[in-house]
Symmetry: C2
Subunit: 201 residues, 2 copies
């Protein structure tokens, strides 16, 4: 390419995960067609985010303040902690409007293949929080993958001596899935952990 | 989402073509994990591009200066003009190293479905350039799609009374392929073996 400015913008765009050079070029050229004000708004949104966005001191969720809105909310049950990998999981669970406790964001998942061990995650702060007492239940809401299971096992080992209830989200056939197309593992678990039938479900 | 800063960054990212909100969120959260210096380099690359990147006065190609490097290059044949839709097509053809003339970037393609007519494209500047004389050949290097063909027909109608040879790249490229995604060999050959333009093609 004949322009250093274009080159640099494409390189930066291609540094985002899953964006290759051809896609980056397409995105940057689309950007270049906008007005200077629009491009300035685009760029400054990331600068402002980097300047102002914080991690909640209590749970690790993103927040514009030191403590996030969920932790500050008096109506949430602080005796119930849901452990998630990522703040996107907080958003996903919040959007279901079924959970009234608070969260603890690990900031990742144990994955030896990627060189991520327990010490890279916010696990000790979870143990500290629980050892202070007053927690009744910890729900593991981790992805039903090898890494998620490994992390759940590790956390269980760390937490099993505390006087708390440790639960995990149910693994089963997802809503809307045709039974015959469900994978055997999910179907097997959904039968093993079958529950009383309620008409309201 | 509970953060205005995050929201704004995600909105801006999702304004790029083909980037949905979920992808935008993933990209923004990956960005947020970087250092302030890295995020600043990311953002400023777009600002600098918007500040400094120009369109070549002669051909419409992108350039860091008023006239692009191709038009300034004394060894290029200025009597031979290759008409392309987009600057990405210039890059694609340049990478084949088979074309020694100069370019004319239309800045789009005739597409009634998208409301793009001849007057939205850099066609009159092409006609002006040719009416000044000294041009021997004009090569249409437009995508072999309905829109590309329409544009070729329109240009042919505009240019056929000038004493120039009008050619078009050979259809070595399969019909329906976007030019910029064609492999270099096919694209290179289609330029080498360009043929006189016929309405019946």
């Amino acid at each position: 390419m004949k322009s250093n400015y274009l080159n640099r913008a494409v390189e930066q765009m291609a540094s985002l995960p899953g964006i290759g050079r051809k896609t980056a070029l397409r995105l940057v050229l689309q950007l270049q067609r906008r007005t200077k004000e629009e491009i300035s708004a685009f760029a400054s949104s990331f600068l402002e985010m980097s300047e102002h966005l914080k991690s909640c001191k209590s749970c690790g969720n993103i927040s514009d303040n030191d403590t996030c809105e969920i932790c500050l909310n008096e109506s949430r049950d602080r005796k119930l902690i849901c452990v998630v990998e990522d703040i996107r999981d907080v958003m996903a669970i919040e959007s279901t409007a079924t959970f009234k406790g608070v969260y603890h964001v690990l900031g990742g998942i144990i994955s030896p293949m990627d060189g991520i061990g327990p010490s890279d995650l916010n696990i000790s702060s979870l143990v500290d929080k629980i050892s202070l007492g007053g927690i009744h239940e910890v729900v593991f809401a981790l992805s039903p993958t090898m890494e998620g299971d490994t992390t759940s096992f590790y956390l269980h080992k760390k937490l099993k001596f505390f006087p708390i209830q440790i639960t995990t989200i149910t693994r089963g056939v997802s809503v809307g899935t045709e039974l015959q197309y469900a994978d055997e593992l999910s179907l097997g678990r959904s039968i093993l952990y079958r529950q009383p039938f309620h008409l309201s479900d």
